[in-house]
């Protein structure tokens, strides 16, 4: 019996070795291991073997089967691998051919900048609010400490609809709406479109965007204003940005300041961008004028606050190095695609 099994094994292995196609190997499996195969036939003949010999012979048969199976399987794997490799060789592509791009649209640079600004201030606990673009004189001027006949009204070149209704010249008008609600504390950011009678050129547009920040609470200080805007500037222009606050005048803040940031192009050494000064003027700000608080029935002895107003285009033109404001309203696809 042992010899017989040895013979089957040797024969089978010989056949496997001779095979170079999967079909041949299948044939081997059927002929030796299949239901009608030679090893199965030996197992079937076990009934003729003496009962005490049976386990031993059975074990020998199984060992033979396992040995054949092992060689057979590895031969199959080898052939399959070779076949796959052959197939992939034929499937080589030119990876440098152009891609099938998904043609996404592009966001306007002004709004990319605005979203970044909003993200920064929302993170600092500010609620974004809006106000009307066509506004009453009271909200745009009077309640901001700019009474009738104030020269600031001339300076701002306001577009009027009639004596009382105008196109807002500043998002500061939204401050007043928020103060009037009387819900304290206030931390708001008011972005939006504003209008001034400037002829269209590379640096002017009769319509542009601002965002106004307003914080009113107990114990708000000028140093808080500095800290907040310092953080804003670092986030939007880079960690190394330095801020310089200069005294200025706005009717609705006192003390007032303008903020310059160190030129992010040259780092403050002076270049074409900052006209050699190393600084770029970015925004106006200040402590909310006590009159402005009083006009909305907020006691300036209990509450203080700060406000700042920033030209959005000032940020987006600088940040993306756009040298002509007219590009923002042309909507040329070749311009928009760059953002």
């Amino acid at each position: 019996m042992k010899e017989k099994l040895e013979k089957i094994k040797t024969e089978a292995l010989q056949k496997i070795q001779e095979c170079n196609a999967l079909e041949g190997l299948n044939e081997v499996r059927v002929n030796y291991l299949g239901k009608k195969g030679e090893l199965t036939a030996v197992l079937k003949g076990l009934k003729d073997v003496a009962a005490e010999e049976r386990p031993k012979v059975g074990q020998m048969v199984n060992e033979t089967r396992e040995a054949i199976e092992e060689v057979l399987n590895s031969a199959i794997q080898k052939l399959e691998k070779a076949a796959l490799e052959e197939k992939m060789k034929a499937e080589v592509i030119d990876v440098t051919l152009p891609s099938n791009k998904i043609r996404m649209g592009h966001r306007h640079p002004n709004f990319i900048a605005l979203e970044e600004v909003e993200r920064i201030f929302v993170g600092l606990g500010y609620e974004v609010v809006e106000g009307p673009e066509i506004e009453r004189d009271y909200y745009n001027f009077e309640a901001l400490n700019i009474p009738a006949d104030h020269p600031a009204k001339d300076e701002q070149d306001t577009f009027y609809i009639n004596g009382d209704i105008l196109l807002r010249t500043q998002t500061s008008s939204v401050q007043v709406h928020e103060l009037e609600k009387g819900k304290l504390p206030i931390r708001i950011l008011a972005p939006g479109r504003v209008f001034r009678a400037d002829e269209v050129d590379a640096t002017h547009s009769p319509s542009f965007h601002q965002f106004e920040g307003l914080v009113v609470d107990k114990n708000i200080t000028f140093s808080d204003l500095k800290g907040t805007l310092d953080q804003f500037a670092k986030e939007i222009f880079g960690e190394d940005t330095k801020c310089k606050f200069r005294p200025h005048h706005f009717p609705f803040t006192e003390p007032s300041a303008e903020m310059d940031v160190s030129c992010f192009k040259c780092g403050g050494k002076g270049c074409r961008f900052c006209k050699g000064s190393g600084w770029i003027e970015i925004l106006g700000c200040g402590m909310v004028h006590p009159h402005v608080l009083e006009m909305s029935d907020i006691d300036p002895k209990v509450y203080t606050g700060f406000a700042f107003g920033v030209g959005l285009e000032r940020i987006s033109l600088l940040k993306y190095e756009i040298d002509d404001m007219r590009l923002l309203y042309e909507n040329d696809d070749r311009f928009l695609k760059q953002f």
Binding site: P151, F159, N162, F195
Partner: protein
């Protein structure tokens, strides 16, 4: 405002700093320096030379050869200048030196012009004699310079002296941006006071004493102010024995640096005092003043008046006039009259130094269309105290410079001066506002520099009259901040109650709109809010279309920007046209912007500002591409029901057979379509354009970001196809509505997979095929259920006159 640093230093004698230090420190304390320029920029190796001899050039008729004593040596210089003579003292730039410009007075080159020894027509020349233009200035500023030729010194100089110094050009001109609240700083004294406080030096204003003669001013002139509401102070003084001549050089140089052309001693003195004190002055010839009487009163409507520039000006009853006993002689605060103009023959001068109401001057100047240096100062609202100080200063200069004798006394018609503003001194509150820890003593030191003094025995600070901007606590706090230093104030973040940062819901929807539009290939555009009323014709709107009721701007930049848009398409089509005509292919744009719909015109209440999401495209894609973008957005903002489309949208600007209102929940939320070919022509677009407009105020209330998991189907679906022949006018939308209604709950979805019109189909019909998917979420469907649903659907379709195909 421009002025020479030397003038400031005249009143802050201890001031020692570089130009840059001055610029930085003044800017940080609130007197912003816009820029500065050295007057000796690009002037190098220029000395006084004396011409020893002149001989003709052997080979050139127009050139001469000069031997010039430049102090240390005598150099030979060849020149073509016609005006020099032996003995003349002239500025000479030596070999290796530099001048600022050419002799023609054209634009100055950035780095000047280098001068080197050279041969002129074969003769050596070791330098150049300079004209005033070559020194970077002009005859406006140096009236004594010849029109065409070398500048010749008429003052005490000797060969070898620094010619730049001798010309008063060793100086720097600073340009300041003065904020509108700081009226006092529109003057040399105001800026000098700030400079003294900034650098902590002594402020030494001019000491004004007037040597008067024995005559009395009352014998010369009387003043009556009939409209004191517009003139709170009117001071008049008289000078006699006027001798007109040039003003001294120092005065000319200071005026020139401020951009004021020196004229003669009398004019220069009034200009000088205006610069120095910030108080405009006017001088009348007494002999032209009838009745020797000045009356200040309003003009009458319709009056006309010739100003001293020879222009006829139309007046009205709000314009304040200076008159004599018979007639007007000047427009108060704006310009004097032709009829009282000073001539060189003047014998007696009346000086006026007045305080006119700022708002009135500003408005009058605007109406008359004449804004002068004087009106620019008056309109800011001047300090009445300064009017008196300035007129005395002018008279002092008249006497000291030998321009005339000062008659004793001043006619001073003055409303009671306002009482000084007093503000409580609250150092803790100031520190609390600034976030600083400045001692009370330090604050008082700052105030003292600014002439803000603490009242004896009270806690009140008394504001000086020239600081009309200091009215309350916050103003005082700013003074502390400015001179303590904005840069020294700490950097902190607000403490106190926490607030939740967030975007309002409307803006979240807009953010989603941007995401979806861009995902669909549309780029974001930005359009103007105002446009031309001609837009309505370009868009073919009916004459009575309510969209023509636009809000009109009363002072627009021109017709093109004169009405607030009521419809967003003009901006979109204009942008697409720009792209098309620049040959950009396949352009897709979207815009989020307001349109402005008045409730009634003329406007009495604020209009309805409606945010529109506008899509526009040409090139690749068609109506259904646009429709896809709309549906993508609507689904993403949680509007779960199917949109309805009504082809009877009635939009004149769209193709009549390719337009639809977009309806959700029985509400029209927008419209879309192909742009009418005539509109395309109006916008010069020679291809098909598709647009969609979504009205966000209608949409936002129906949106939701609330999502609930509905499970994933565990049981298999059954698919059935229906193919049908349909009369052409029946809309796919109606067929789908029927299928949905009749399919019941087990109809999961339906999709159109074929639509055909043509040869094989009879005329007036189209063939449509749908694939329907049925599924029950709770069990496997059996055929009977599906068959029953199909039967209902087919019956429904047949009742619509639709033929079913096998």
């Amino acid at each position: 405002m421009n002025s020479a640093l030397s003038w400031i230093k005249a009143y802050v004698p201890e001031l020692e700093c570089t130009d840059q230090e001055y610029c930085d420190a003044m800017t940080l304390s609130g007197t912003k320096v816009e820029g500065f320029e050295r007057l000796d920029k690009n002037l190098d190796k220029i000395v006084v030379g004396q011409i020893n001899s002149i001989e003709r050039h052997p080979d050139a008729d127009k050139l001469i050869i000069c031997q010039v004593n430049v102090g240390s040596e005598v150099v030979q210089i060849v020149t073509g200048a016609p005006n020099v003579q032996v003995g003349d003292l002239v500025p000479v730039v030596l070999d290796g030196g530099k001048v600022a410009g050419g002799h023609d007075g054209g634009a100055l080159p950035e780095n000047g012009i280098a001068i080197k020894a050279d041969k002129l027509r074969g003769i050596d020349s070791y330098g150049m004699m300079c004209s005033i233009e070559e020194l970077g200035s002009d005859r406006n500023m140096y009236p004594e310079a010849p029109e065409n030729g070398i500048y010749i010194f008429h003052k005490e100089v000797k060969p070898g002296d620094d010619a730049i110094e001798a010309l008063g050009l060793r100086d720097t001109v600073f340009e300041y941006e003065i904020t509108s609240n700081r009226v006092d700083c529109y003057s040399i004294l105001g800026i000098a006071r700030e400079a003294a406080a900034t650098f902590q030096k002594l402020f030494v204003p001019p000491v004004v004493t007037v040597k008067e003669n024995a005559e009395k001013v009352e014998d010369y002139i009387s003043v009556k102010v009939e409209d004191p509401d517009l003139c709170s102070r009117y001071c008049a003084r008289v000078c006699t024995n006027i001798k007109i001549g040039p003003s001294p050089e120092w005065m000319q140089r200071r005026l020139a640096a401020s951009g004021i052309r020196p004229i003669n001693n009398l004019v220069d003195i009034t200009n000088y005092v205006m610069e120095e004190y910030g108080q405009p002055m006017h001088a009348f010839d007494l002999d032209t003043i009838k009745g020797h009487q000045i009356i200040v009163r309003r003009a009458k409507d319709g009056d006309e008046f010739m100003t001293l520039d020879g222009q006829m000006r139309k007046l009205d009853s709000e314009v304040l006039m200076i008159c004599d006993a018979e007639k007007e002689i000047g427009i108060a605060g704006i310009m004097g009259g032709e009829n009282s103009k000073i001539t060189d023959q003047v014998k007696t001068v009346v000086f006026e130094s007045a305080t006119f109401k700022g708002v009135n001057i500003r408005k009058s100047a605007k109406r008359i269309g004449l804004r002068t240096d004087a009106s620019g100062k008056f309109e800011k609202g001047l300090d009445p105290a300064n009017a008196r100080a300035a007129i005395d200063r002018a008279c002092q200069l008249m006497q000291e410079l030998g321009c005339g004798e000062v008659v004793s006394g001043t006619v001073d018609v003055c409303e009671p001066l306002k009482e000084a503003v007093k503000i409580p001194f609250e150092p803790e509150r100031i520190n609390a506002l600034l976030g600083t820890d400045v001692s009370a003593e330090e604050m008082l030191e700052i105030f003292e520099k600014l002439e803000i003094l603490k009242e004896e025995g009270t806690n009140l600070l008394v504001m000086p009259s020239f600081r009309q901007d200091l009215l309350g606590f916050a103003d005082i706090a700013e003074e502390v901040a400015r001179f303590y230093g904005y840069d020294k104030i700490p950097v902190t973040l607000p403490q106190g109650s926490a607030t939740a940062g967030k975007l309002p819901y409307k803006l979240l929807i807009e953010e989603k709109a941007r995401d979806i539009a861009e995902y669909c290939g549309f780029s974001q555009g930005m359009c103007y809010s105002f446009e031309s009323p001609k837009v309505f014709d370009k868009l073919l709107l009916d004459a009575d279309d309510p969209l023509r009721d636009a809000i009109v701007i009363s002072n627009p930049l021109g017709e093109d920007f004169s009405v607030m848009r009521t419809i967003s398409l003009n901006g979109m089509l204009t942008s697409l046209s720009t792209n098309f005509n620049r040959r950009n292919k396949d352009v897709r744009l979207y815009e989020l912007g307001n349109v402005y719909r008045p409730h009634a015109l003329p406007l009495t209440e604020l209009p309805d500002e409606r945010m529109q999401l506008t899509f526009g495209m040409y090139g690749e894609g068609d109506f259904y591409t646009m429709k896809g973008a709309v549906e993508e957005f609507v689904e993403e903002v949680g509007m779960k029901k199917a949109l309805q489309y009504d082809p009877k949208a009635g939009k004149n600007y769209l193709h009549p057979g390719r337009q639809a209102n977009i309806i959700y929940n029985d509400t029209v939320i927008g419209h879309l379509g192909e742009v009418h070919p005539m509109v395309c022509t109006n916008y010069s677009i020679k291809t098909k354009v598709y647009v969609a407009v979504l009205d966000l105020p209608s949409i936002v209330p129906m949106t939701s970001f609330d999502r609930k998991y509905a499970g994933i189907a565990k049981y298999p679906a059954v698919t059935r196809d229906i193919s049908m022949v349909v009369p052409k006018e029946i809309l796919a939308g109606d067929i789908e509505k029927t299928i949905r209604q009749r399919g019941g709950k087990i109809l999961e979805s339906l999709s159109l997979f074929d639509i055909y019109e043509g040869d094989q189909i009879k005329a007036g019909y189209k063939s449509i095929a749908y694939s329907l998917v049925f599924r029950d979420m709770t069990k496997t469907l059996d055929d009977n259920e599906v068959n029953a649903a199909m039967k209902k659907i087919l019956n429904g379709l047949e009742s619509m006159n639709i033929e079913l195909r096998a």
